[in-house]
């Protein structure tokens, strides 16, 4: 028994890609009693219980307002045609609910806030792995050490920097860029919060690439930037994708950072903020709330179903984010 507590997160290039769910044992069928009725029923019941909350949201979001007010969503199970199915809720949520704008804002926050930490961390990871410079080890330990810091520790000072700028003994060291409520501000915050983990994971991956490739590229006259761009990046796609998906979901689903740095009232609010506000303002308007909730979930669910292997890898790798 090798003590391999985490599934192959596929962050080493040497490993073959085996997602956890695909590693079905072959010998399990040989002479061993497979699951009987009890196992099947227990699994089925658990899955059903797990699905019920989501089904409730989905069904409610397509029912007419009067139906939603008068009967529970489960009544459609035995009377599917007795309810007034409609897309109206989605139209209302997207349009007057402002979720179309919020969705665009979420994209504008999430895509750069995913690419930026990956790019910054990949360059740093390359330098930590394949370049010689003073303080290399110390810097790497410092970066990795920051994984233990919960982001709550950073919120107050960053917001004060964004609002007031920074001064040390009367000297302005951080300009008053008025970053509060701006995309740049939240990109930088998310980049910082994702960097320690990203650098650590990518350093492990990039550092374990065979040195012969990099050596021969150097002998052929490639400079560091070319090696990084033409060699390291293409070879690191699995690690970049795993972290990218983790970070994308993390930022898309984040409420806290967006709440503090983008705020809830301005035009820049993202879907999670818009949904949380809607709960506060119209908490009993279920047809609107459920369709809005589903709008916030669409993109993560698409990512989940289309990139499931990377998705699992990304989340297991991201389990040490501070």
């Amino acid at each position: 028994m090798t003590a391999v507590p985490l599934p192959p997160t596929d962050l080493t290039p040497a490993e073959t890609a085996t997602g956890p769910s695909r590693a079905k044992k072959t010998s399990g069928t040989v002479g061993v009693e497979q699951g009987g009725w009890f196992v099947r029923i227990a699994v089925l019941v658990t899955v059903l219980i797990w699905l019920i909350p989501a089904v409730g949201v989905l069904v409610t979001s397509f029912r007419g307002a009067d139906d939603v007010r008068q009967t529970g969503w489960w009544t459609v199970l035995w009377d599917p045609f007795g309810t007034d199915w409609t897309f109206e809720n989605y139209r209302t949520a997207l349009d007057s609910g402002g979720f179309a704008n919020a969705f665009l804002n979420s994209l504008a926050v999430t895509i750069p806030a995913t690419i930026m930490p990956i790019a910054v961390a990949a360059f740093a990871a390359y330098a930590f792995s394949w370049m010689q410079f003073r303080g290399r080890h110390l810097m790497f330990v410092l970066v990795v050490g920051l994984m233990v810091v919960p982001l709550q520790m950073a919120l107050i000072p960053i917001l004060r920097l964004f609002v007031d700028g920074g001064e040390i003994a009367g000297v302005r060291v951080f300009p008053d860029l008025d970053l509060n409520g701006s995309f740049l501000g939240i990109w930088l915050a998310h980049t910082a919060f994702g960097l320690p983990l990203a650098t650590y994971l990518l350093r492990n991956y990039i550092g374990s690439l065979p040195s012969s490739i990099i050596e021969s590229a150097r002998i052929d006259g490639a400079d560091n930037f070319t090696i990084f761009w033409r060699l390291i990046v293409p070879l690191s796609v699995p690690a970049l994708a795993a972290f990218g998906i983790f970070q994308f979901l993390w930022v898309w689903n984040d409420l806290l950072v967006a709440y503090v740095f983008l705020g809830g009232t301005s035009d820049t609010r993202v879907v999670t903020i818009a949904l949380a506000n809607l709960v506060g303002a119209r908490g009993q308007n279920w047809q609107l709330l459920t369709s809005a909730a589903f709008i916030t979930m669409v993109l993560p669910l698409v990512v989940f179903f289309s990139l499931q292997r990377y998705f699992v890898r990304g989340l297991t790798a991201g389990s040490v984010k501070g």
Partner: protein
């Protein structure tokens, strides 16, 4: 993975047989150098000016959101690569002696700069602020910490948080473990069943909170019918509807159920992979010796994957410590008695504008998390090393 340090590599400068001075010799050298220096200044300045203009545009409230979002994405994504390319190009124009000494700092510089400004400075500053007053002007000694450990609502939040870090990992890991073991023995449909349990992991805490608010929904007599599933079942059993979210202290468990729903899938996927890594021979041998399935599970499966169980548990402990969104979205934390530490921090810092108290709560949270987190990261590194 072995943490091999790559062998010291020669820099390309050392391999370059032609010294810089020899290459750039000749009459045009002076002019070319001047052009390079001018370029080294012109590019960043032009970059900053255009960036400033673009960022102003992004703040323009009247412009079309679609255009703004598209521009923002392009600025953010292209900007970060342009930054590295520009810095690398500038380094190319430096004198040959310093060029390769400077280049590594081009690669690690941005990461270090961002972390210094957005992580290291804030940690220090938060600690300092935790000893200051609401606006961060005057030192007030330990007043904020006294508040954290004497205020009734704060004490309740600490108690609730302890509840979260016990209940959520307990249920999440147990259900995940049992489900993983059961699904492992399915002949068909294992992948699908696991996907469906894992699905809630994809959505946000806010979305999950809305989902469960619908289940817990309550209408008093005369304010419409009860459409919440829990009250539907409860009334079906012949009871009066209940305002579930105000039932102290059980409402805390209802909120914890949301997190269990979301994170059981994670525990299940990780534990499932560990179960599949147990060599078949061991389990076969036990079965041949007449062990029942239950005994195989308790005596062989669980002990074999114990390290994984511990890792998953700490992961869920950390998440439960930092839970904020669920309590925040469910609302009325104080009157319902559902406060948790991370939620109190935002209350005091962001809503009540008391930076000192917010900072003190953050520091308490930090101190509570450090040991678990250090342990978790170390464990994670060990496993990486084994692989």
């Amino acid at each position: 993975m072995t943490q091999t340090t790559p062998p010291p590599t020669e820099t390309s400068e050392q391999q370059d047989p032609v010294p810089e001075s020899a290459r750039s010799g000749g009459d045009g050298a002076g002019a070319r150098t001047a052009a390079r220096i001018a370029g080294a200044f012109a590019i960043p300045i032009a970059g900053f000016l255009s960036l400033g203009w673009l960022l102003d545009f992004l703040k323009d409230d009247d412009a079309n959101r679609l255009v703004i979002a598209a521009v923002a994405i392009v600025v953010g994504v292209v900007g970060v690569f342009a930054l590295f390319w520009a810095m690398d190009t500038i380094v190319d124009w430096l004198p040959a002696r310093v060029r390769e000494t400077a280049r590594p700092y081009v690669f690690v510089g941005p990461a270090l700069a961002i972390l210094a400004v957005f992580m290291i400075y804030p940690v220090v500053n938060t600690i300092v602020l935790s000893f200051k007053d609401a606006r961060g002007d005057e030192f007030v000694g330990l007043d904020n910490y006294e508040f954290v450990f004497t205020n009734e609502s704060m004490l309740r939040s600490i108690r609730n948080s302890v509840g979260w870090i016990v209940v959520v990992p307990l249920f999440g890991v147990s259900i995940g473990l049992v489900f993983a073991a059961l699904a492992d023995r399915l002949r068909r449909g294992e992948a699908l069943a696991k996907s469906l349990i894992f699905l809630p992991m994809a959505i946000s805490f806010v979305g999950a909170s809305v989902t469960f608010r619908l289940i817990y929904d309550y209408r008093p007599e005369g304010f419409g019918s009860n459409i919440g599933l829990l009250n539907g079942i409860w009334m079906g059993l012949g009871n009066e509807p209940v305002a579930w979210l105000s039932q102290k202290p059980w409402n805390n468990l209802l909120l914890m159920a949301i997190m269990v729903w979301m994170q059981t899938g994670f525990a299940m996927v990780v534990l499932s992979a560990a179960i599949k890594a147990i060599p078949d021979e061991i389990i076969e041998a036990a079965r041949i010796d007449g062990a029942s399935e239950m005994q195989v599970f308790r005596r062989i499966v669980v002990p074999s994957i114990l390290p994984t169980i511990v890792v998953v548990t700490t992961y869920m402990v950390i998440n439960a410590m930092k839970v904020f969104d669920i309590v925040f979205v469910m609302g009325n934390a104080e009157s319902n008695g559902t406060e948790v530490i991370a939620e109190r921090m935002i209350r005091w810092f962001f809503i009540s504008n008391h930076d000192g108290r917010g900072a003190a709560i953050a520091v308490v949270l930090f101190i509570a998390i450090i040991p678990v987190m250090v342990w978790n990261v170390r464990k994670f590194r060990e496993q990486e090393a084994i692989r």
